[in-house]
């Protein structure tokens, strides 16, 4: 059974059709990225799945529950999921450890607190007041609170916005660790390198519809699209589009008798493909 199963999801705000019929199937253990420009319906979709918003039409099963579920059943459901929201700046007067410990008390089988603290790299900050944390440290606390209940499914919303490159790498390593524990992760991001580094599959959403679901490497026919081989021939830069770049390189190599001047083999980047898919409309 899939952890997330969505069929025909629709949601409008007045005249604006934010989500116009989204289908998603995400099996257990997968890291799935939802990519899309602002206003594409990404946040609306995820917030419906998280149970924060209602929907107009469609069927949803998250770990076998409908996110509309209320009462004790909703608590049972939330016991098995973790949510890391875009921004939370609350509880500044509590220390990191107090907060993590308190949240662990909400769940039926919380993870070990020390383990979580070291997984997110906050063991040295456990006694610090939250308001004295840096942006990156705060974000790691958000993740700690998201995973403290040992969730089977984790929602990560734009997790590394505002991170410096080093902090992002560290964060990615943390997500890789979670992959190791078998946690299913639904990640929304507008960083393509992030989706490429982490996701098993990506879905591109635009204008309230999913336009493609694929592996990051295969998105938009990227894996099979023609490569561009370029090199210097005398004073000129020459290029050749080909399905068989290796053959072209071999040919050139024998032509030049070894080293090919300024050789480059270029495939369209995920960004090139993505921008083409969403019609150049980003942010």
């Amino acid at each position: 059974m899939n952890v997330i199963e969505v069929k025909g999801l629709k949601k409008s705000y007045g005249q604006v059709h934010a989500v116009r019929g989204v289908d998603l199937s995400i099996p257990a253990g997968e890291i799935f990225a939802l990519l899309g420009p602002n206003g594409a319906g990404k946040t609306t979709t995820v917030e419906i799945l998280e149970g924060f918003r209602g929907r107009d039409a469609g069927e949803i099963s998250i770990l076998g529950f409908d996110p509309k579920t209320q009462g004790y059943a909703a608590r049972q459901w939330r016991d098995r999921i973790g949510i890391v929201l875009q921004s939370a700046a609350d509880a500044g007067d509590l220390t990191v450890i107090e907060t993590v410990k308190h949240f662990s008390g909400y769940y039926s089988k919380p993870r070990n607190i020390d383990e979580v603290m070291s997984a997110v790299g906050l063991e040295d900050k456990s006694g610090a007041l939250i308001r004295n944390l840096s942006g990156g440290q705060r974000r790691r606390l958000d993740v700690a609170l998201g995973i403290i209940g040992s969730p089977e499914l984790l929602f990560l919303d734009e997790p590394t916005t505002g991170f410096d490159p080093e902090a992002r790498r560290a964060f990615w390593a943390l997500i890789e660790q979670l992959r190791g524990t078998g946690t299913t992760i639904l990640l929304t991001t507008h960083y393509l390198d992030e989706a490429e580094a982490l996701a098993d599959r990506v879905a591109v959403i635009n204008d309230g519809l999913i336009i493609e679901v694929s592996t990051p490497a295969g998105l938009g026919g990227r894996a099979t699209s023609q490569a561009i081989v370029s090199w210097r021939d005398g004073s000129q830069i020459k290029t050749e589009a080909t399905d068989n770049p290796t053959a072209v390189v071999a040919r050139l190599s024998s032509h030049f008798g070894g080293e090919i001047p300024e050789l480059a083999v270029i495939r369209p980047s995920l960004e090139d493909i993505y921008l083409k898919m969403i019609g150049g409309r980003d942010e």
Binding site: A88, D90, A91, E98, Y107, S108
Partner: protein, 264 residues
């Protein structure tokens, strides 16, 4: 089915956390807890006369200050701070956990009850030492006092949580909430002798709980002979109880049905 901690147990834990957070905000601790004492000092120094044989204005004012402390500490504080918590995403995060809403509400009720108890202790201390305030001696009066504080504090908490849905943002909350409370205090006989207010003011005030809390507190701190000077010529203790329970039910109903965890 996973076995989840009970709503009450989590509510008590949330209460502990709320109190701890409150205690760390030094400025607001001092202001919230000492504000009634400061008002008592001001009014007690200005009005030195007696308002009835053996009843000083300070004595009358202590009753009003405890009653309005219940409204300030509960209703006003919550209707302002909950929208702030909502603005910074704290409530949405809680919504995403298995913690039930009732635990959050219980936590707030504990916070308000604890700060009320401290506030009253300070008011008693200063009142006794500097303003000649006399404490009731009969057990029945202390019983009335106890249920008034507990019911008043819970009612004020519930109404504060319910009213937190009205301000659109934390920044604007104070501008919406504070005038209501101040007007209610004037109308309910906190700062003036209630029976000296215009009749329409008295009647309007009688709809809201503060008037009844103030009157109830007067029944504790003023001699029973003063009851004849009330509007109904009696303390109306039973009526006070009924009206506070009614408001408590209204507060709980809106808190449970309409509480907003998220800005939109």
């Amino acid at each position: 089915m996973n076995k989840l901690p009970s709503a009450l147990k989590l509510g008590i834990r949330r209460g502990g956390l709320e109190v701890r957070q409150f205690a760390r905000q030094r400025e607001s601790v001092v202001f919230t807890l000492l504000f009634p004492v400061i008002l008592l000092a001001i009014f007690g120094s200005v009005f030195k006369d007696t308002i009835a044989p053996g009843v000083t204005f300070s004595q009358y004012f202590v009753a009003g200050m405890i009653a309005s402390g219940l409204v300030n500490t509960g209703f006003q504080a919550l209707a302002i701070t909950i929208p702030m918590e909502r603005d910074v995403g704290g409530l949405k995060r809680l919504r995403g956990t298995p913690m039930p809403a009732s635990s959050y509400f219980i936590g707030k009720a504990i916070l308000i009850a604890v700060s009320m108890i401290i506030q009253i202790a300070l008011l008693f201390g200063f009142g006794l030492l500097f303003f000649g305030v006399e404490m009731p001696t009969e057990l029945s009066k202390w019983l009335t006092f106890t249920w008034l504080v507990l019911l008043g504090s819970t009612c004020s908490t519930a109404l504060g949580i319910a009213f937190s849905i009205v301000p659109k943002s934390g920044r604007g909350a104070s501008a919406v909430v504070s005038p209501i409370v101040i007007i209610l205090q004037f109308f309910s006989g906190v700062f003036f002798v209630f029976t000296q207010l215009p009749t329409w003011m008295q009647q309007l005030a009688a709809i809201f709980p503060l008037k009844w809390l103030t009157q109830g507190m007067r029944s504790v701190f003023l001699p029973d002979s003063f009851a004849t000077q009330e509007v109904a010529k009696s303390w109306e203790t039973g009526r006070t109880f009924q009206i506070l329970v009614l408001w408590l039910v209204i507060g709980i109903f809106f808190s449970v049905r309409k509480f907003k965890w998220d800005r939109d």
